[in-house]
């Protein structure tokens, strides 16, 4: 089967991962400015000690190899800005929140998208088709940082249905996850509709219809598996998009997730946190694309990777 292909893909990712580590490491280090130049000047002795503590006084290549060595043990190093905390601790704290947000968003996207898309394909060129498809265009065109504030304005401030910030009880999780999921719901609904419409005209569907099966049975039992292929292949890139969308969503709704940490640390020049979060993102995206490829083979027996 495609096992050889899958192994080859994992292997090609190893040099890419190294390239990314190297690229990010040197980009950050060659740039002007450092984690300890703040408005309040640190006395030179303390600065020296700080640099020594974090090995910033060593030559760059030595730091690089030190980082690689630690990385081999999954140790992402200490944070420069949050004293006494390691990057691993920060990620362990922030990642579950981002993961939860992303999962809810994806669930929203699939529920809304599949329902709307299925309905549109079930009754094409009717109101059930036009209304959701028009809304979905808005979902595709409008970015998270427009939809987010608008939904805060509408549901949070004007109607006062839902809280507008934070991440603790479930009402506070509704708006952020809907905001993040909206664009994906839009894509999923269009892909579902497109996939189902294309499959309607295939021979095996005609056969099913000739057998006298109900239209809903045809849709659910026969069309869905093939019709969902475009949706599945979209999920890989969607996940990558969810991560970057989460940057904005977490900022807007003030959620202490990984995305907000990434932005803050980038601005603070907290080298190790930026590196650690960026590497985590790369790994996640690779894993997701990989899973999607495997799913693709499972769903469509015609697909073979060589």
């Amino acid at each position: 089967m495609g096992l050889g292909y899958l192994i080859k893909r994992v292997l090609t990712m190893v040099p890419v991962f190294f390239a990314v580590v190297t690229l990010v490491f040197f980009t950050i280090r060659f740039a002007p400015g450092g984690p300890f130049d703040e408005e309040r000047r640190v006395p030179p002795e303390i600065l020296e000690n700080l640099n020594k503590k974090y090995h910033l006084d060593e030559p760059l290549y030595q730091q690089y190899f030190r980082y690689l060595g630690a990385l081999a043990h999954f140790d992402l190093g200490p944070s420069f800005k949050h004293s006494n905390r390691t990057v691993n601790e920060i990620i362990a704290e922030a990642f579950p929140i981002s993961f939860e947000l992303g999962t809810y968003a994806l669930i929203w996207a699939l529920i809304i998208g599949l329902l709307a898309g299925g309905l549109a394909a079930y009754k094409p060129n009717s109101l059930f088709d036009y209304v959701p498809m028009s809304i979905s265009i808005a979902g595709i065109c409008l970015p998270t940082f427009v939809i987010g504030p608008l939904s805060i304005l509408l549901f949070g401030l004007w109607m006062e249905w839902l809280p507008v910030a934070g991440w603790d009880d479930w009402p506070s999780k509704v708006l952020p996850s809907l905001t993040l999921g909206f664009a994906y719901a839009a894509y999923v609904s269009r892909l579902t509709r497109g996939g189902l419409m294309e499959i309607r005209n295939q021979d095996f569907i005609r056969t099913a219809r000739a057998k006298g099966l109900k239209e809903s049975t045809i849709l659910i039992k026969h069309s869905l598996r093939g019709g969902l292929l475009p949706v599945v292949s979209y999920l890989g890139p969607a996940f990558a998009g969810l991560l970057s969308g989460a940057l904005v969503t977490e900022t807007i709704f003030n959620i202490p997730g990984l995305g907000r940490f990434f932005i803050q640390s980038a601005l603070n020049r907290d080298y190790t946190v930026v590196m650690g979060t960026a590497l985590l993102y790369f790994t996640l995206i690779f894993v997701c694309n990989f899973i999607v490829d495997v799913l693709y083979v499972v769903l469509d027996p015609r697909v073979r990777y060589e």
Partner: protein, 306 residues
């Protein structure tokens, strides 16, 4: 001897050229495509809106009612009025003027960064497709690998560490969007390079680079234009995303992303500060997407519509 050969060859070449430009009274590809485009209502509306917007952007310095930096703290977030059509922002600046100037920046970034991505993608794809063989598979393998990387994170790191320079922004955003373009052009070139006019050029000893840039690339223009109209909104979005996070265009300049981010700060007090720039960005993205879809259908009538 070789001289006469060249002249006759050039002669045939020229006649072929005029043939391409179509003086025979038939309908050329471009005229036909334009006719099809005009039938698509949404694309025409989108195109007209964009044309208007580009004209406004060019004329902004002359038609803007106020200076875009002129502050008047007594007019803190005023409501829209006859004097200030869109109201004023947090520093008492005229929002209509700010939206006009913001559009100038957003459109400029969108177009220039797209040109960067087209330049890279077309060159890369054409070289890969034309050379073929091992070079081609290596170049395409690189593209496959890069596809898996979330570029926006790299762009964020770049913008944070190397100053928020607007030229760097063009290049960084352009770098994120060339991959699909490279694939499209490669496919086109592979099908074109076996055609007679390329063989003729090769047999005349035309240099490879000339064949690529003079003969192959101009013939890939259709798909390139279509893809570019879809790249522009993506890039505008990415720029707005960066500006929203405070990493894009820097004060006193402002893009729509910056304006939206300012609007979010005061949306509880005066929602118009958020709504007007959001609307400007939204309408532009709608128009670009409609025009892009229309162009795709017009230039590639066989292509599937999703």
């Amino acid at each position: 001897m070789s001289n006469t050969l060249t002249t006759t060859m050039t002669g045939t070449d020229l006649s072929m050229d005029t043939n391409l430009k179509d003086e025979t009274g038939g309908v050329s590809l471009w005229k036909d495509a334009f006719r099809r485009l005009l039938k698509n209502k949404m694309a025409v509306i989108g195109g007209t809106f964009l044309l208007l917007e580009i004209l406004l952007a060019i004329a902004t310095p002359w038609i803007a009612p106020y200076d875009f930096e002129a502050q008047n703290l007594e007019l803190w977030v005023e409501a829209p009025s006859a004097l200030h059509w869109f109201g004023t922002d947090t520093l008492g600046r005229d929002l209509f003027t700010r939206v006009l100037y913001g559009g100038r920046i957003s459109l400029m970034v969108g177009i220039l960064a797209s040109l960067v991505s087209v330049a890279i993608g077309v060159t890369y794809g054409a070289i890969s497709g034309y050379l073929g063989g091992r070079v081609d598979s290596l170049m395409m393998r690189i593209v496959d690998v890069l596809y898996a990387l979330p570029f926006i994170f790299l762009v964020i790191i770049l913008m944070v560490y190397f100053g928020r320079n607007i030229y760097l922004l063009f290049v960084a955003l352009g770098m994120t969007q060339w991959l699909t373009m490279a694939r499209i052009v490669r496919g086109q070139v592979i099908s074109l390079k076996e055609k007679e006019f390329v063989q003729a050029a090769t047999s005349m000893g035309v240099r490879k680079s000339t064949i690529i840039f003079k003969h192959l690339i101009p013939n890939c223009l259709g798909p390139v234009i279509v893809f570019m109209t879809l790249t522009v909104p993506t890039v505008i979005l990415e720029e707005a995303f960066l500006s929203f996070l405070g990493l894009g265009v820097q004060a006193p300049m402002a893009s729509w992303g910056t304006l939206i981010s300012n609007g979010v700060e005061v949306m509880e007090i005066r929602s118009t500060v958020l709504l007007f720039p959001a609307m400007a960005l939204g309408l532009t993205l709608f128009s670009l997407n409609f025009l892009g879809d229309g162009l795709r259908d017009a230039l590639d009538p066989k292509g599937a519509k999703d």
